[in-house]
């Protein structure tokens, strides 16, 4: 009950969905996510033409993933059968589709709509294999595609955004004006995950999309900007691997969230863990999921609104870690020194940057007014 969410007219039992990707590549994987508790699953992206995926297509490093996978390797007809099958089993399925022209997009949309998809996500934001400028970053193209699709179907249409957009607010408004029911963000971030120095080769053979834990801050900012620009609901995606990640997205304006890469790291249990964690937290706070959507947005300020206050760091306790020097190294003005295993603080040098506060694992600093 607490978790119930109305999203684009779909009444969902919770806000946790699964993102487009190979973890949603067929009915079996999709049902697995639904069985784990996801309220809806987005299919891997369906296109008119199946293009062979190159191998290898993914590389994992430092909790992040670069992938160079294109779209689903199942034909449209196969997906129509899949969708019917998932619907028969009672699942809620959102068809992710892509195409190169509005008429082509509308055609695929109509096909998945007739097969029974509950909603559509337009996947025009892949950062590799489709041009230097991400397809979905062109407002005119977006407007025409969304418009054509909406005229062809009778289910909610959500548009997936790339972080590679110059003016995200303008694009969100264009998409809303075209009649979209919602916006999801973000797709992967263009990346090269590393270079093998011995062979002078990038770790994957071409540019790809970055996902997983490291992209969460990019996703959060994108979601907040969209939520502050339009009235249609937003679905937050990017680096969600636990319940608090999900709630952060929601507080910044997402009504729902999608989990992607974490399924590769943690298995589909991550879905039930996120749902349970959210539920517990909401219960403790006596809140409902609907009640927290956008709660942190009003605390996002412009520079003008941030008062310039005479903050200084304050050491709460004696330093608990004799071998640690993190804050000492971090402090750019030399306000912190380590002497005999303890921190010596020079208040007159401190400029209140706040770095030590977030650096110290033991949370030994706070900022306070010091006039």
């Amino acid at each position: 009950m607490r978790l119930k969410m109305d999203f684009m007219g779909l009444s969902l039992k919770n806000p946790v969905m699964v993102a487009a990707g190979p973890w949603s590549r067929n009915p079996e994987t999709i049902m697995r996510s639904l069985d784990a508790g996801a309220s809806a699953v987005v299919t891997e992206t369906i296109a008119m033409e199946v293009r062979q995926n190159v191998r290898p297509w993914i590389y994992s490093k430092n909790e992040g993933y670069q992938n160079v996978r294109l779209y689903s390797d199942h034909a449209l007809e196969q997906w129509l059968i899949f969708i019917r099958q998932i619907k028969k089993e009672g699942g809620t399925v959102i068809a992710s589709i892509m195409a190169h022209s509005p008429s082509e997009m509308a055609y695929i949309a109509k096909s998945v709509y007739k097969a029974g998809a509950d909603a559509i996500e337009l996947g025009l934001s892949i950062p590799h294999g489709e041009g230097v400028a991400v397809m979905g970053s062109d407002p005119d193209h977006m407007y025409n595609s969304v418009k054509r699709v909406i005229q062809s179907v009778d289910i909610p249409v959500m548009v997936k955004f790339s972080p590679h957009v110059t003016n995200i607010s303008e694009l969100a408004k264009v998409v809303e004006k075209a009649g979209a029911s919602g916006i999801s963000a973000i797709d992967t971030v263009r990346s090269i995950i590393g270079v093998d120095l011995e062979t002078s080769k990038p770790l994957l053979a071409t540019y790809g999309g970055y996902s997983g834990v490291p992209i969460k801050p990019i996703g959060l900012a994108t979601v907040a900007s969209i939520a502050q620009s339009v009235k249609i609901p937003v679905c937050g995606i990017g680096g969600i691997s636990n319940w608090s990640d999900g709630l952060e997205y929601m507080m910044l304006g997402a009504s729902t969230i999608q989990i992607g890469s974490a399924i590769m790291t943690l298995g589909s249990e991550v879905i039930s863990d996120v749902i349970e964690g959210m539920d517990k937290w909401l219960e403790q706070k006596r809140l409902r999921a609907e009640g927290i959507v956008g709660k942190a947005l009003s605390n996002l300020k412009s520079f003008d609104e941030i008062e310039i206050l005479p903050y200084k760091a304050v050491l709460k306790d004696a330093c608990p870690e004799s071998s640690c020097e993190t804050c000492v190294v971090g402090c750019l003005v030399g306000a912190l020194e380590k002497k005999n295993g303890n921190i010596v603080y020079h208040q007159e040098l401190c400029n209140g940057c706040g770095l030590c506060v977030s650096l110290c694992k033991d949370q030994n600093f706070e900022l306070k007014w010091r006039l």
């Binding site: 034909a75 007809e77 190169h100 022209s101 008429s103 082509e104 055609y107 096909s111 489709e130 540019y207």
Partner: protein, 349 residues
């Protein structure tokens, strides 16, 4: 015998029979039993894939192409056949060689033998025959777009824009002396390519040199001969935009035999991106014509139309029976154009 006969025998509407087959849950068990009984008695076996379930079907669609030697058409055929096969249909391939007689003979044969549907290439079929097809109301889809009041579903692209982009790409790479080897200008796509070439030069304020526009037969040999003429000209061009890759292969051979290097002396850009284009030396920069996808799409449109035609419910589907799908063209940058733009080669435009 078809679904109508079953309906008549059972004394129910055709829609009810259709529902028994497609949404049995929406029919009372009693009616369902009875209709299934009648179907069995009448030996009525619906095709699984067909929603309309018309027993008068032949299970064959036809693809009429102008030239079986041109790999464009084999790739279109691959797309058409793939969808048809998945639907349990056979594809009949008819090669007209752009001959009016052959076309007419094929069309008559197809209409008489009653294939269930036809895909043809716009601009390569006599307008009278198109009218004839339209009159018989045979489900038909055209690939390409032509002037006229035709009511066919179509998948089409923009040759003008593709040629303009290809020529503009050469201009961006610093060339201004750009020649064009045209295809057979009797065909609309060749004429559009020529116009696109002209437009790009005009946009860049480059004078058009009529000596640098020459036509060729749409074969390797045609490209070879046309390129020889251009290259032996006392004032040879710095770059050539060629109406199709097949001709470009011939042109590359001619340019090399005349002792010029590609792209250092003469750059070449083709059109189509056929399967060989990435294999010739130097690898050919070209316009990617999504032929396989055109085949897939045309085939899908055809089956939609066949399904709608035999679908019995008076639904809204009738209204949007004719569908037009546009597939845009992009440049595939490789080595023959002398580009300095590696990022464009990796990402496309």
């Amino acid at each position: 015998m078809n679904i109508r006969d079953v309906a008549q025998r059972a004394g129910v509407s055709v829609a009810t029979v259709s529902r028994v087959l497609n949404h049995p849950d929406q029919v009372t068990p009693k009616t369902r039993e009875r209709i299934l009984e009648i179907m069995k008695a009448m030996d009525y076996t619906p095709n699984w894939f067909a929603r309309g379930l018309n027993l008068n079907r032949t299970g064959v669609i036809a693809l009429l192409i102008p030239n079986i030697m041109n790999p464009i058409y084999t790739e279109i055929a691959k797309g058409v056949e793939e969808v048809a096969h998945n639907k349990g249909y056979y594809t009949l391939l008819c090669n007209s060689e752009d001959s009016k007689e052959k076309e007419a003979a094929y069309i008559e044969m197809l209409l008489h033998r009653k294939v269930d549907g036809l895909i043809f290439i716009a601009g390569h079929l006599d307008p009278d025959l198109m009218t004839r097809i339209e009159e018989t109301r045979l489900p038909a889809v055209m690939i390409g777009k032509i002037e006229g009041n035709w009511q066919f579903s179509a998948v089409y692209t923009d040759y003008f824009e593709g040629a303009r982009k290809a020529t503009a790409h050469l201009i961006e790479n610093g060339y201004s002396g750009i020649a064009h080897i045209t295809g057979n200008l009797r065909f609309i796509e060749s004429a559009e390519k020529l116009n696109g070439y002209r437009e790009a030069l005009k946009n860049a304020d480059i004078q058009i040199n009529p000596k640098w526009i020459i036509g060729g037969e749409e074969t390797i040999e045609g490209g070879y001969l046309a390129a020889k003429r251009l290259v032996r000209n006392p004032n040879p061009p710095e770059a050539i935009f060629i109406a199709n890759d097949w001709m470009a292969f011939g042109a590359i051979d001619a340019i090399k035999t005349e002792g010029f290097r590609i792209p250092e002396d003469i750059a070449v850009v083709g059109f189509d991106n056929n399967r060989m284009s990435g294999l010739v030396e130097p690898k050919l920069t070209t316009v990617n014509l999504p032929v396989y996808k055109m085949g897939l799409t045309a085939s899908r449109l055809l089956f939609d139309e066949m399904d709608t035609l035999s679908s019995t419910s008076e639904s809204d589907e009738k209204a949007d029976q004719k569908q037009q799908i546009f597939l845009p063209l992009t440049i595939k940058v490789r080595n023959s154009c002398g580009h300095q733009d590696r990022i464009k080669a990796i990402f496309g435009e």
